[in-house]
């Protein structure tokens, strides 16, 4: 499995609203498809995404099977200080994909 792709500016000024983009490799099996034998392929998706900055929640999503494979998210964050963004994607099977990005705020 490929690592998540995350775009966070390396530097910003205090009070800036920055752009964050995140892309993770996942088939997002919708539970609507059938295999060659006609059996329903069970749902297996990323159902939750969370982003925190220095431990405080910034943005999150509750995700349904209608989100495309390799889910892409773009959102904003207001930064007041240097620190670390933490990103978490939760799979239906309970596993969590985690990643971090730091930003220098002056």
């Amino acid at each position: 499995m490929a690592k998540p792709r995350i775009k966070v500016p390396k530097k910003a000024s205090a009070g800036d609203v920055i752009k964050i983009k995140a892309l993770v490799s996942h088939t997002m099996e919708s539970g609507q498809r059938k295999d060659k034998e006609g059996n329903v392929i069970p749902q297996k998706i990323i159902n939750k995404f969370e982003c925190t900055f220095n431990g405080t929640s910034v943005f999150g999503c509750d995700i349904d099977p209608a989100v495309s494979a390799n889910p892409f998210l773009e959102f904003r964050a207001k930064v007041a200080e240097s620190g670390t963004f933490k990103f978490m994607w939760t799979d239906d099977d309970g596993s969590v994909i985690e990643a971090e990005k730091s930003i220098e705020v002056s």
Binding site: L23, S25, T27, S68, A69
Partner: protein
């Protein structure tokens, strides 16, 4: 009315498939990440039946075009990054990775994707990137060759081709017997096949720019493969697409990397001479 036999049905489908309203390719410029300007339209190489060559990018909607212009948002880049990991992964009895011999792909693989397929003296046939990877795996790494579209074949091919992003496609047809494989490929290109009796040229030469149902027909250039297709939501290899197109004519389709499809790869790559390598392109 009942369709009593398939022939009637397929005749009707054939009529339904008649291409409709014309819509020319868009007059836009593809710039990747606001810095790398791509050649997506170019005067055709001598001997080409079409005067101006367009990348398939020009035939897509604004949203699909934007996806390719942003290397972060382009989901095909997930495959490229996976290919980069494979590049550095040791496999086989010799304890080697691709990087053990070729070091930094950004240097050693630059231009490679723009000039393949190349003539291979040893096998006396053209060699594409996939075949080159497999001969490296077998001869130098002591690893199993990748089966078609399996293992790391697609991501590694995409990673290698991506090192030539923006470079113009150019084949050397003077090497070995490349010219005769080009001829074979040309024959395949114009050969009508299947119950729908279509050749590659029926859609991509005679009707490019028009619509087949809601689909905007491109010139069928191959400069962006492996390409990220929204339909499958993954990287699709060139030979998979060849087979898909032939299947859609309701013909039996040849094996990947067979002589027929290697000839077709040589010929269709030549048809896109001068276009930038776009791997991984984004298509519908």
């Amino acid at each position: 009315m009942h369709f009593t036999n398939n022939k009637t049905l397929f005749t009707l489908i054939g009529i339904a498939l008649c291409v409709t309203a014309s819509a020319t390719p868009v007059d836009e410029v593809l710039v990747i990440d606001e810095e790398l300007e791509m050649t997506t339209r170019v005067q055709a190489v001598e001997g080409h039946p079409i005067s101006e060559i367009y990348s398939g990018w020009h035939y897509r909607t604004p949203e699909t075009r934007a996806l390719e212009a942003d290397s972060f948002a382009n989901p095909g880049m997930l495959g490229v990054e996976q290919g980069e990991e494979i590049w550095h992964t040791v496999e086989g009895s010799e304890g080697k990775s691709c990087a053990s011999c070729h070091d930094d792909a950004a240097v050693s693989m630059k231009g490679v994707g723009a000039n393949y397929p190349k003539w291979d003296e040893k096998t006396q046939r053209p060699k594409n990137i996939e075949a080159q990877i497999n001969s490296c795996r077998v001869e130098n790494m002591g690893a199993e060759p990748y089966k078609f579209d399996k293992g790391g074949q697609k991501p590694l091919t995409a990673y290698i081709k991506n090192q030539s992003l923006g470079m113009p496609v150019e084949l050397d047809l003077s090497e070995g017997e490349m010219q005769s494989w080009w001829e074979k490929g040309k024959e395949t290109y114009y050969l009508r096949t299947g119950q729908l009796n279509l050749s590659c040229a029926s859609c991509h030469e005679q009707n490019h720019g028009k619509h087949i149902r809601a689909d905007h027909l491109s010139q069928g250039n191959v400069n962006g493969f492996p390409t990220y297709r929204l339909k499958q939501n993954k990287l699709i290899s060139l030979h998979n697409r060849f087979r898909g197109c032939i299947r859609d004519t309701r013909a039996e389709f040849p094996d990947a990397f067979s002589d027929v499809l290697m000839g077709l790869e040589v010929y269709t790559t030549w048809r896109g001479t001068g276009l930038s390598v776009e791997t991984p392109a984004v298509r519908q």
